[in-house]
C-alpha cells in the first residue's frame, strides 16, 4: 500500500474521512456525552437550570415515588430478557438445528421464519393487540372453537398475563434472527468434525451439547448480547400494545417507557423532566454497557477457533 507522502493524497484522504466522521461525532458521540452531562443539572422544560450533582440519580433510584417505578420497570425488563432468552433464542437454536439438516422444503421454511423479522414492530404490535382482544380476538375465538373456552381471557387486560403476551408477540416477530444466525454458525462447522462425531455416537443429544453448541459459540455470543441490549431498550411493543403507562397497573412497564414518560411526559400528565430523564438514560446506558461487556468477555472465552 502506498505511504502518505504527497500533500495531495493527504488532502484526498481527509476529504474521504471527515464527512462520515463528522456525522458520527455530531449525532452519536456528542449526544451520548451530553446525556451524561445533562443528568447533573436541574431542567425547567427545555432550559438548563443549575448544577445539582447526583440529585437526579438519587431521585430515580431511591426517592419515592420514582424509585418504585424504576425498580418495577427494571424487574419487568429482567423477566422479559429471560423469557425471550428461552422463547426467542432457545427456539431459534432449535429451529436452526432443524433447518441445518437441509431436508426438503428447508429453503422455504428458512424464508418463512425470517419473514416477520422484516415487519415493523408497530405492525406486529397492533396485529397482536387485535389478536389478543378478549371478545373478538383470534386467540380467544380459536380457544373457544376447540373447546378450550375456559382458557379464554383478557390477555392484555390482566396483570398476570399482559407482560407474557407481549413477550410472545416479540418472540414471534424476532425468532427468525437468532435462528438464521445460529444456522450460519452451524453451516461453518467443518464436515470432517461431523463425520468423526457420527463414528463416535448416535445420540442426537450428545451431538448437540458436546459438538454443535460449543462450535456455534460465536453466533451465541452475538445473539445473546443483541438480545440483552434489545431487552433493556424495549419500547415499541409495550408502547403499542400496553400504552405509555405500562398498563394494567404497571405490569408491562419497562425502562424504555419509564424513560420516555419521565423525559417527555404523557398526555395525562405533561410534566417533562429532562434532568431525571437523562439520569435514567445514563443508568440504563451504563448498566447495558457493563453487563454487555461482561457477557461478551465471558462468552468469547468459550469460543473455539476452528
Amino acid at each position: 500500500m502506498p505511504r502518505l507522502r504527497l500533500t495531495g493524497r493527504g488532502l484526498w484522504i481527509t476529504v474521504l474521512i471527515v464527512p462520515p466522521l463528522a456525522f458520527v461525532a455530531l449525532f452519536i458521540v456528542y449526544p451520548i456525552i451530553s446525556a451524561f452531562a445533562y443528568a447533573f443539572f436541574e431542567w425547567k422544560g427545555m432550559a438548563r437550570g443549575q448544577f445539582v450533582g447526583f440529585d437526579n440519580f438519587y431521585k430515580v433510584l431511591f426517592a419515592p415515588p420514582y424509585a418504585s417505578y424504576t425498580w418495577n420497570a427494571f424487574r419487568n425488563n429482567v423477566m422479559v430478557f429471560f423469557a425471550l432468552m428461552v422463547l426467542q433464542n432457545g427456539v431459534g437454536f432449535l429451529l436452526a438445528y432443524c433447518l441445518w439438516r437441509g431436508l426438503p422444503g428447508a429453503r422455504f421454511h428458512r424464508i418463512a421464519v425470517f419473514l416477520p423479522v422484516v415487519l415493523s414492530t408497530i405492525i406486529v404490535g397492533y396485529m397482536f393487540k387485535l389478536f389478543y382482544h378478549p371478545l373478538f380476538g383470534v386467540v380467544n375465538i380459536s380457544l373457544k372453537s376447540v373447546g378450550l373456552g375456559a382458557l379464554a381471557q383478557p390477555w392484555l387486560g390482566q396483570d398476570t398475563t399482559a407482560l407474557w403476551s407481549l413477550v410472545v408477540a416479540n418472540a414471534w416477530h424476532m425468532v427468525g434472527f437468532p435462528a438464521l444466525v445460529f444456522l450460519a454458525g452451524m453451516q461453518r462447522i467443518p464436515g470432517e468434525i461431523l463425520d468423526a462425531v457420527r463414528m463416535e455416537t448416535e445420540s442426537e443429544w450428545v451431538k448437540i451439547s458436546k459438538v454443535v453448541w460449543p462450535l456455534v459459540a460465536p453466533s451465541a455470543t452475538v445473539v445473546f448480547v443483541l438480545l440483552f441490549v434489545g431487552a433493556f431498550n424495549w419500547f415499541e411493543i409495550p408502547y403499542v400494545m400496553a400504552g405509555l403507562d405500562g398498563s394494567p397497573y404497571g405490569s408491562t412497564d419497562v425502562l424504555g417507557l419509564l424513560f420516555y414518560r419521565t423525559a417527555f411526559g404523557t398526555v395525562s400528565s405533561s410534566t417533562q423532566n429532562f434532568g431525571m430523564g437523562s439520569a435514567l438514560a445514563v443508568l440504563i446506558f451504563l448498566f447495558i454497557a457493563a453487563v454487555a461487556s461482561v457477557i461478551t468477555v465471558k462468552l468469547r472465552a468459550r469460543e473455539i477457533e476452528l
Binding site: 415487519l119 463425520d195 453466533s219 445473539v223
Partner: protein, 287 residues
C-alpha cells in the same frame, strides 16, 4: 446432508434417521404455520367486514371486497405517509452508502496515521443504543432547526447506519486485489479517478448487503419520528399507522387493511429479494 443416511447402514439406524427427520420436518412445518398464520389472518381480514372477522377469522374472504382498502387509501393520509417513508429511507440509505464507502475506502486502501483509531471510533457506535441519547438529540435538532422536518430523521439515520456500513464495507474493500489500482496509478490516474472508475464498480455486492442492512431498521423506525415529527403531513408510515389505528378503532376491517397496506411494501420486497435480505440483516452478526 445425504451423508447422514449412509452412516446408518443397519435397518434400525435407518429407521431412527427417518423418524428423526420426520420429527424435524414436523417441527419446521408447525413453525412455518405459526410464522405465516398471523400474516394470512391479517391479509384476509383486510377484505372482510368487522362482523365477518369476529365470526369467521380464518375463512377465505371475498377478495373483491376492497372497501376497507379504498377507505385507507382515500380517507387517511396513508399515501402521504408512504411517500414520506420512501423519501426519508431513500435519502438516508443513499447518504449512508456514500459516506460509509468513503470512510471504508480511506481506511482499507490507504495507510495513514490514525486509521486504526478511526475504524475503532466507527465500530464503537455499533451497539450503542442511540435511543438513550434522545434528549440531547432532541435539543440538538431544535437548535439546528431540524425538528418537524424530514432532515432530523435523515441525519440520525445516517449517523446510526454508518458504523455497520463502515464495518461491512471496510472488510470487503480490503479483500479487493491491488493490481488494477497500481496499474492505473502507473498510468497517472488520479486517486479520485481510481476510486470512482476502478474500485467502486467492484464493491457493488457489498453495497447491496449494507443497503439492505440499513433499509429494514430505517424503514421500520418508529422511535425517532415519535420524538421529532409532530406535523401529520411529515409522518412516516409506522408513525402514521398509530394515527389511523386510533381513528378507526372500532372498524376492524379498516384496521387490518391499514396494517396490510403498511406491511405490503417491505414484505413484497422481501419475497423478491429474500436471499439478499437474510444475508444483509445477519451479515453484521455473522463473521
Amino acid at each position: 446432508m445425504s451423508a447422514a443416511v449412509e452412516h446408518y447402514g443397519d435397518r434400525r439406524g435407518l429407521l431412527g434417521t427417518l423418524g428423526r427427520d420426520g420429527l424435524i420436518q414436523i417441527i419446521l412445518i408447525a413453525n412455518t404455520v405459526i410464522m405465516l398464520a398471523p400474516i394470512v389472518i391479517m391479509v384476509f381480514a383486510a377484505f372482510k367486514t368487522s362482523a365477518q372477522i369476529y365470526q369467521h377469522p380464518f375463512a377465505l374472504p371475498d377478495f373483491t371486497h376492497v372497501e376497507n382498502i379504498v377507505k385507507i387509501w382515500t380517507e387517511t393520509n396513508f399515501l402521504r405517509y408512504l411517500l414520506n417513508s420512501v423519501f426519508v429511507t431513500g435519502t438516508s440509505i443513499t447518504l449512508v452508502l456514500a459516506l460509509g464507502t468513503m470512510a471504508a475506502y480511506a481506511i482499507a486502501r490507504y495507510e495513514f496515521w490514525g486509521a486504526g483509531f478511526i475504524l475503532m471510533f466507527f465500530l464503537a457506535g455499533l451497539t450503542l443504543p442511540l435511543k438513550l441519547a434522545i434528549i440531547p438529540l432532541f435539543i440538538l435538532m431544535r437548535d439546528l432547526g431540524a425538528l418537524n422536518t424530514p432532515f432530523s430523521l435523515i441525519l440520525v439515520y445516517v449517523a446510526m447506519g454508518l458504523p455497520t456500513t463502515v464495518f461491512i464495507m471496510t472488510g470487503f474493500i480490503r479483500t479487493l486485489p491491488s493490481e488494477l489500482e497500481d496499474a492505473a496509478r502507473m498510468d497517472g490516474a488520479s486517486e479520485a479517478r481510481i476510486m470512482w472508475s476502478i474500485m467502486l464498480p467492484l464493491v457493488r455486492p457489498a453495497m447491496v448487503i449494507a443497503g439492505i442492512q440499513n433499509l429494514v431498521p430505517i424503514w421500520n423506525d418508529f422511535f425517532f419520528p415519535l420524538i421529532f415529527i409532530q406535523n401529520d403531513n411529515l409522518k412516516t408510515l409506522p408513525q402514521g399507522l398509530t394515527t389511523f389505528m386510533g381513528e378507526y378503532n372500532s372498524n376492524w376491517g379498516v384496521l387490518f387493511a391499514g396494517l396490510t397496506l403498511s406491511a405490503a411494501p417491505i414484505v413484497l420486497l422481501y419475497i423478491i429479494l429474500s436471499r439478499q435480505f437474510i444475508n444483509g440483516m445477519t451479515s453484521g452478526a455473522v463473521k
